[in-house]
Amino acid sequence: MLDLAGYGPQIWAGTIVTVELSVLSLLVSFALGLVGASAKLSKNRYVSGMATVYTTIIRGVPDLVLMLLLFYSLQIWLNDATDYFGINQINLDPFTSGVITLGFIYGAYFTETFRGAFMAVPKGQLEAARAFGMKPLLVFRRILFPQMMRYALPGLGNNWQVILKATALVSIIGLSDIIKATQDAGKGTFRMFYFSVLAGLVYLVLTTLSNGVLLLLERKYAVGVRKAVL
């Protein structure tokens, strides 16, 4: 059915790398987004100002430019740091830099998603939780997080799809992901068209699968919410 001309294992390995990269970047940007949203809603003017600068600059500059900027500069800064402390050089491989840069970039988008979701949770609920003597972390874990996830999910799903597609860019800085594998296969067999389309199909399968998972998650977090019947 599928003629992979012996490149099957490489293509499969590339697909795994792509999925790992997207999931790890999602985790990093998710965490950064939570921190960023809390900072942006903070009463401290400097903290919220810094978060605003972060989201504005990151969302105004193309991700590929930021990726190249960080990929080349991170290594130089790291070398300077290791030289200064007199320790051995630490080499950043494309995978680690990919996770760091994608996480850093999409953290800005998650910040905006979570900010909107935090604000959608009724204030009274948080006040009630505080009145019961809950500590801030407990309020976050038991009251704020479960409820804001429902509002954040559509935006989250969107961001996940964008991250998944943005991982294609990391092959430009030298990661052996699905793109690299299919391009190598195409060059080796002189069938560029076939293998490039194959890469596109792999991404289509991944995005379609994640759409299904998102639908399930949305159903889970919508438990107990009555929908208006039109």
């Binding site: 105004g60 193309p62 080349y72 943005a166 991982t167 294609a168």
Partner: protein, 234 residues
């Protein structure tokens, strides 16, 4: 930093002495692909809302394919993939078209933004309030007049905020052009980086230019929204 600015400012902004490069090239890519995408999206959005599955089916399939895969892959398919086909290499016209990196880039960008714009406009058309359509019909408007006078003007206006997001995302996507040897801002930055090894200055300058363009676009769209969506203001 100063060295790069002194040696590359012309290339960053408009020309390297031979070709259009840098900012001018990026803006040209943005304008031409958004224009083609817009012209494709309006009829396709109408077709997307058709009742006949033979009409909306193909449009759905087109947007599904182009929104489900990364733009970089689409560019690779069109730039390196299509050109490797025998049919293309043996046809003089197709050969001349697909040999040029910029033609492939514009084709890929236009098809990609066309797919996203189609969905945006189709959503806006679907949200047109029932009363407006009823009123138009009660005045004896034909289907074409109804679309031309009532549905499209109101739908395109309401789609403006979402469409402005798409244009800014498209600006960010034009950076991919440098992988197809098109001399846009990022290509100049990449050249400056290879010549000087001053990565932070080279890519930082590119980032600054993109930031300025983004802010200008955001400002322009905000003005446009105030004009076209004045009836929605509180």
């Amino acid at each position: 930093m100063i060295y790069i600015i002194q040696n590359y400012w012309q290339a960053f902004l408009y020309s390297d002495g031979y070709n259009m490069t840098g900012l001018a090239m990026t803006l040209w890519l943005l304008v031409i692909s958004c224009a083609i995408g817009f012209c494709m999206a309006v009829p396709l959005a109408v077709a997307r809302n058709a009742r006949n599955p033979l009409i909306w089916g193909p449009v759905w399939f087109y947007t599904f394919i182009f929104r489900g895969s990364p733009l970089y892959v689409q560019l690779l398919v069109i730039y390196t993939g299509v050109y490797s086909l025998d049919v293309v290499q043996h046809n003089a016209l197709l050969n001349a078209f697909f040999r040029q990196g910029i033609d492939c880039t514009i084709l890929a960008f236009a098809l990609n933004t066309g797919a996203y714009t189609t969905e945006i406009f189709a959503g806006a058309i679907k949200d047109t309030s029932f009363g407006e359509v009823d009123a138009g019909r009660s005045l004896g408007m034909s289907r074409v007049t109804l679309y031309r006078r009532i549905i499209l003007p109101s739908a395109l206006r309401r789609a403006l905020p979402v469409y402005s997001n798409e244009v800014i995302l498209m600006l960010h996507s034009t950076t991919l052009a440098f992988t197809a040897t098109v001399p846009d801002i990022l290509k100049v930055a990449n050249d400056a980086n290879s010549a000087t090894y001053n990565s932070f200055a080279a890519f930082g300058l590119a980032a600054l230019i993109y930031l300025c363009v983004s802010f200008t676009l955001i400002y322009g769209f905000r003005r446009a929204e105030r004009h076209f969506l004045a009836f929605l203001q509180p």
